[in-house]
């Protein structure tokens, strides 16, 4: 189901013309209204008129979360407060939250892109959408809500939590589409199964899962347990909230709504633009937002872009599943390593506990990586030989994944730090 065929299937050339027109207007508008950008353009010695082609976008300096925080709360807004009809914030787990402000047109835009997203999961007027994303300052809840309204689906604004009630409602209301984090979906399945509920009997057809990093293995697990289509949704507060990109049922990447959000992939290391298909950091520019426009925002999310046409008929560029954050990126002996690569190598082995820590040191001018893995009951043996074999096997797996030798240290169970939120996986002891 394609919500806006005209926009989503537009020939590439035509879309580029649209993008350029919107980009030039956005740059002008932002430059005129936000002192921060004027200062930045001045430092880079450019004027809005210098942006004559889409390629010229690379002349615009990047903006990061740090600068947005410095503008807390409303300094980055490009319209007077009387035109702002709604505000949301990021969670603020890593510092002061980022505030985003929406004009009426921004809410309209948000509804449009979320309608496109939910339509990919098969949402129609007849759908019953159980929205388990939190309502409030978090963008997840209201983003899905506006999209459902635009389509005319029945939205159940249940918000997060109260798992037992979620299951009752899912049964009684015959929910057809669920929107939540993938980890919460698995938790729901677990609780429902404990209560003896046969998940196959639910009316659920599809789910939009996002707001956290997840893997193909988790998708398979969710699809198997619920007998549904599990699709990936992507978005971030700084850009608009959910609805920046969404997967179609072809499951070959997330279509970015690039007529509104212009994507680039850069090397987080050199900040140079990377060729199509290469993994790097996603940079987004809002082409139509009014409240808080964003020119070249570094998302820190690691992905790659693909332009070949998709079997679904949409001509929108596709981004790969997010595989890491550039904040987590390590450079070891000149090689770029992401913790998720090591994590993946670890979990390919059976019996390994999901707790590990990566320690980077520099001895005699040479970087060394040590991966600490907790010894589990399944892996333990009374024979040194077997444990050494296991250790070498883990080392080999890691080497194959990252192309560098890492030393594996087996540690006692529960000896690595546990965390409620984001786990601290990397300890970099190098003094760089």
């Amino acid at each position: 189901m394609i919500w806006n065929r005209q926009a989503e299937c537009m020939p590439t050339g035509e879309r580029q013309t649209l993008q350029l027109g919107r980009l030039r207007a956005a740059v002008k508008r932002t430059y005129d209204a936000v002192p921060f950008y004027r200062k930045r353009f001045g430092e880079a010695k450019i004027k809005p008129e210098d942006i004559k082609s889409l390629d010229d976008i690379r002349r615009i300096p990047f903006i990061t979360k740090t600068e947005l925080r410095e503008g807390y709360p409303f300094n980055m807004f490009a319209v007077p407060m009387q035109n702002i009809v709604e505000v949301h914030t990021s969670s603020g787990t890593t510092g002061k939250p980022v505030v985003t402000g929406y004009t009426r047109n921004d809410i309209d835009l948000w509804s449009e892109v979320m309608a496109r997203a939910l339509s990919m999961a098969g949402a129609t007027e007849k759908s019953i959408i159980q929205n388990c994303y939190g309502y409030g300052l978090f963008t997840g809840g209201l983003g899905v809500h506006y999209g459902a309204h635009r389509i005319g689906s029945t939205v159940v604004p249940i918000s997060a939590g109260n798992t037992k009630r979620q299951i009752d409602i899912m049964l009684d209301f015959q929910t057809t589409i669920i929107a939540c984090t993938p980890s919460y979906a698995l938790y729901l399945a677990e609780v429902a199964e404990e209560q003896g509920i046969d998940l196959k009997k639910l009316s659920l057809k599809a789910g939009c899962f996002g707001a956290e990093m997840w893997t193909e293995q988790i998708r398979t697990e969710i699809e198997k347990r619920f007998h549904i289509l599990a699709l990936n949704i992507y978005g971030l507060t700084e850009i608009i909230g959910p609805g920046v990109a969404h997967e179609c049922p072809e499951k070959c990447g997330l279509h970015i709504f690039e007529d509104h959000f212009y994507p680039e992939i850069i090397s987080p290391d050199t900040l140079e633009l990377l060729p199509e298909g290469e993994n790097g950091e996603l940079v987004l520019t809002t082409l139509t937002r009014e409240g808080i426009p964003m020119l070249r925002f570094r998302t820190r999310d690691i992905t790659a872009l693909h332009h070949e046409p998709c079997a679904c008929g949409r001509s929108l560029v596709r981004m790969e599943r997010i595989t890491g954050r550039s904040d987590d990126m390590l450079k070891i002996r000149g090689v770029i390593v992401f913790p998720y690569q090591i994590e993946k190598a670890l979990f390919e082995m059976k019996g390994i506990e999901p707790h590990y820590q990566i320690i980077v040191t520099r001895e005699h001018h040479l970087d060394e990586i040590e991966v600490q893995v907790e010894m589990s009951k399944k892996l333990f043996s009374d024979e040194i030989r077997k444990i050494e074999e296991l250790r070498r096997k883990i080392e080999k797996n890691i080497e194959e994944a990252i192309g560098l030798r890492a030393k594996v240290l087996l540690v006692e169970p529960k000896s690595l730090p546990r965390s409620e939120g984001k786990a601290k996986r990397v300890v970099d002891k190098r003094q760089l």
Binding site: M375, F380, D382, I384, R385, L410, E412
Partner: protein, 143 residues
């Protein structure tokens, strides 16, 4: 007769061995025999105790990784060549020894040797054939 041995994973950190022994002391579990195998990074503590199940439970509760497996305990004559004689029986049967450790008990004339092989059943057969005295768990615990 096979005897249960429990093994505990130990990181090479100060005080870890003491903590294992402290758990056993609190539970009033006596140790009949022990050995430690170690590498640069970790060690394996192997224990023979009269009540291996209780010891395993207590140590797991204490957060340790514990494994139970079977070993063979034999009595070796206290004279030159005593152990060589035993190993000959295993070698003749083509059975590989993973590790062994020995201790001397007051009430016993000979030494006690705990052997872990890759094939305990075959080893028992070979030892019986070689007329080596294999101890039952009861005999071992009552030393």
């Amino acid at each position: 007769m096979k005897v249960k041995q429990i093994s505990v994973f130990l990181e090479n950190r100060k005080g870890r061995l003491y903590e294992v022994l402290n758990v056993l002391a609190t539970e009033k579990i006596n140790i009949r025999a022990l050995s430690i195998a170690d590498t640069a990074d970790f060690g394996i503590l192997r224990l023979i105790v009269p009540d291996p199940d209780a010891a395993k439970k207590a140590l797991e509760k204490g957060g340790f990784t514990v494994k139970e497996n079977n070993v063979i305990a034999i009595e070796v004559p206290d004279r030159p060549g005593g152990l060589a004689f035993v190993l000959k029986a295993l070698q003749d049967a083509d059975i590989n020894v993973e590790y062994l450790y020995a201790f001397v008990a007051k009430s016993q004339k000979g030494a006690i040797v705990v052997i872990r092989t890759e094939n305990n059943d075959g080893a028992l057969k070979a030892l019986k054939h070689g007329e080596v005295k294999v101890l039952t768990p009861e005999e071992l615990y009552s030393l």
